[in-house]
Amino acid sequence: MLYFSDLLQYSDVFLSALKTTVELTVLTTILGVVLGTVCATVRQYGNRAGQRVVSVYVELIRNTPFIVQLFFIFFGLPAIGMMLSPWEASMIALTINLGAYSTEIIRAGLASISKGQIEAAKVLGLNFRQTLTRVIFIPAFEKIYPALTSQCIIVMLGSAVISQISVQDLTYAANLVQSRNFRAFESYLVTALLYLGLSILLRFAFNALGKRLFAYRTSN
């Protein structure tokens, strides 16, 4: 028999856990995409040294497990004097992780912008920063928007791992509840559905944002 009603008394735990996961997701999505944008710009248009630094960062993160990155930041860094709270460590780890993956994605978008667009901006007298922000970014992001939003959702789902350093996120709540009442089936099922709901919500938000940003594709 299944007893979902046994979870009701823990609804506060689930709610506050949901809040933690949502907060971390929103924050790291914004910071991670900003980081990825900066790194992609350096990698696409920067000098050789900058490109190399970005390459090392991207390859380091993309070729190591997220949980190891997280443990390194949380358990490893105190050895060199950087004490971070579980929440801070998670925020940093998630941002760095999304930053690396989104660097590669965004760079593909930048690479898709024809040289002609950049030259057109140049002969109109725009400087490089103006060319980036006014001419390059929007069409570049449009090209890779589906891939980028998928990556953000992957990172949100991957954030389940941070329960391992005792951040009280959704997965932490599921573990806690099932260890108290032994309703593992119900607890994890509800948690999975909450993640599913979050994913759908996030996708919905990204689509709405995309419609605004890339309105030129549909209007007229």
């Binding site: 667009q117 030259e119 057109a120 007298g125 069409p139």
Partner: protein, 242 residues
């Protein structure tokens, strides 16, 4: 007085010697057509004039100021040299109006109202006033190229460079773009065109420059030179294109 002056300009791509000592003097109000086979250095020459390409020897001045590829210099140069490309290069995420207003607002720091008035006037000039709020992808190639002309004109350039601007157009759309150019020529704008439109070069252009193997092979008054070419290479070229 010369507006654009090239003195012994040499340009190399690696070992490839593209421009082999170009001397050219263009006066205000002239309409100069640069013709020649592909690979003869026509486009490269044009791109050197506005600093998009670096040249290794010689000197280029526009309105008395030296041209280099230094970023800041290119931007200052952009104020006196407009350029139109073969592939239009309109910004796809901006409306026609925004395309034309962009540089006047952020480079010349004009107010939005002022930039909009200029943009509307320029679009009127190219016959596209009603497309102000349309996006480029909704326009035909010919219309897009006319918008590109309006965008360049909005910066009130002293000289307008046109790099094969009708080559990517369907034949029936070439006429509308050439008509705009003809109108500009009548108004006295200095035009330098790399073109394959011999009729336009003859009827509207004041001078034709024939380039061959990286050199100015032959040049002169457009009607004279096209009806009576002197060198074998130009004769051969004329035979091939007409």
């Amino acid at each position: 007085m010369s507006l654009v002056n090239l003195h012994q300009v040499h340009k190399y791509y690696g070992d490839h010697h593209v421009l082999k000592g170009i001397d050219l003097d263009i006066k205000a109000g002239e309409v100069v057509s640069i013709i020649g086979k592909s690979g003869s250095g026509k486009s490269t020459l044009l791109r050197c004039i506005n600093g998009l390409e670096q040249y290794q020897e010689g000197g280029i001045t526009v309105d008395g100021k030296e041209v280099t590829t230094e970023d800041i210099q290119v931007r200052r140069l952009a104020l006196s040299v407009g350029m139109i490309f073969q592939n239009f290069n309109l910004f796809p995420h901006m409306t026609v109006g925004e395309n034309v207003m962009l540089a006047p607002t952020i480079v010349l720091k004009k107010s939005k109202a002022e930039a909009e008035a200029t943009a509307r006037a320029m679009l009127e000039k190219v016959g596209l006033a009603e497309k102000f709020d349309s996006f480029p992808e909704k326009l035909s190639g010919g219309q897009q190229q006319r918008v590109a002309i309006a965008r360049a004109l909005a910066m009130s350039p002293k000289v307008l460079l046109c790099d094969e601007i009708t080559s990517a157009l369907d034949p029936e759309l070439v006429g509308e773009v050439l008509k705009v150019l003809e109108q500009l020529a009548k108004e006295g704008i200095t035009l330098v065109l790399v073109t394959h439109e011999m009729n336009f070069a003859r009827d509207v252009g004041s001078r034709v420059v024939f380039m061959h193997q990286g050199k100015v092979w032959e040049q002169g008054d457009s009607k004279t030179i096209l009806s009576n070419p002197q060198t074998d290479e130009l004769k051969q070229f004329m035979g091939a294109v007409l």
